[in-house]
Amino acid sequence: MASKISTLAGNLDKLYEFDREPVTPDKLQAWSKFAGMFAGEHVAATEFVIGAFFVLHGVTVRDLLLGLLFGNLLAVLSWALVCAPIAVQTRLTLYWYVRRIAGPGLMVVYNIANAVLYCILAGAMISVSATAVGLAFKIKSPALTDVFPNSVGWVLIAAALGILFTTLAVLGFEKLSRFAQVCSPWIFVIFAAGALATLPKLGVRPDFSNFMEIARTKIWNGVAAAGQEKLGFGHVLFFAWFCNLAMHIGLSDMAVFRYARRWTYGFLTAFGVYPGHMLAWIASGIMVAGIGREMNPGFMAYEAAGLAGVGGLLLAGWTTANPTLYRAGLALQSITPNWPRWKITATAGAVTTVLACFPVVFMKLLDYVALYGLILMPIGAIVFAEHWILPRLGMEQYRAEKRGWIINLPALGVWAGTLIFVFLLPLHLYFKWLPGYVFAVASYTALSAFGRRAPAGGRP
């Protein structure tokens, strides 16, 4: 078993070999590059759904605005105060840093978990895009409570779109990534255009004088749709904070910030989250109110901005599903040695396509986003404890690397234990991660202290 894990880890190491060494000073990038990159990074097809869901969940206008303002602020602070400082000090990707801390075996487990989660996320993006294509063929969009496909037509469209996105990702990931950079400013403009053009339909006067009244009574009126849970300020705040949890608290954006000259570049994420996770969500909330609060992103985009809106939804889905499929393939490559890139991407795409046929992947998107962050968060907590707390307590760091452990058992135990702990916590799903994070940091520190008394070596 141990030798098999070693082989898998070796395969994975080869894939990430190019960034094994810390970034050298001559490779550091200016703040403007970070600002530009973040600005185009947070407007995806899922924004069409998330903002609309806040309306359907009966969020009031006050709770929405304050929740997004402070929730996004907390997200920016998490990047700036947690993720960026570790990245700037180590100049390593999360992959190599976790490998030092938790051992190559746990890195394989982390990668596979990541691959599965990426496939579900890409599936949600394809599903959202399928509602746009379904419009042209008069295919009924799934209902809010649908878990399984509601028609053969829906399956055909979701599958066709999944195959198309996968084929394009197989044919040329890099070219598509560069094309995605062209799409991102336009997609954001489409959100703004759709919302602005919907306002007269809702009765907003050209001088904006009654905007707040309309917002309170016709958009975020505090009434949840049938079967939808009522959400408030705390839910919105936590959602905005954790929707990129794997990236900031989970530290996967170390890959980006290792190129930063200073840790303060973490504050530049505000250029991404405030347009993408505040303005775009507000815009999609306005658009869904314009179609009578129906969760049908394709219809919503068409009614708000015509064919350009439909194109915006499709491109938003495609440009974000494309790198997600690529990352899923990269993560899967550890268990598929000697497979060419196309075969791995095609496999990830096939899994994603099947998932995309199930409307539950986007109808339960808010819960999925919460779970996604929750599952990967303990790894960020383990790295945080190892990087900051262990040296302050005079404890030895990087024992897994120094002693050649395949798996750092305390780290594996903390990961599994944290997931059990948060599962049992009698809290709303959105609020579970924070006590879970504290639990993971504390338990990893305690287990590391306990482990120091054990004789060195001899671990599996």
């Binding site: 890099e174 560069r178 094309f179 950079q181 062209v182 400013p185 336009w186 403009v189 489409i190 703004a192 255009a193 759709g194 602005l196 053009a197 306002l199 007269p200 907003v204 050209p206 901005a305 015509g306 064919l307 350009a308 194109g311």
Partner: protein, 59 residues
């Protein structure tokens, strides 16, 4: 020089993408006018923007 022209044209296209919804909001154009204008400006963006913003990959 040519890249600069394409850059200006693409920025104008994007500005038009914003101008049409503003005109619609102010009630100066119809819904159909807004949708057609936005579509044309969008197509223009995708014609001009790649011509200056996507740089050929250096080996």
């Amino acid at each position: 020089m040519r890249r600069r022209v394409f850059a200006v044209l693409s920025i104008v296209s994007l500005a038009l993408c914003l101008a049409f919804p503003i005109l619609r909001f102010l009630g100066r154009i119809s819904v159909e006018g807004f949708r057609s204008g936005l579509l044309i400006a969008s197509v223009a963006w995708f014609v001009f923007a790649p011509l200056w913003s996507i740089k050929p990959k250096k080996n």
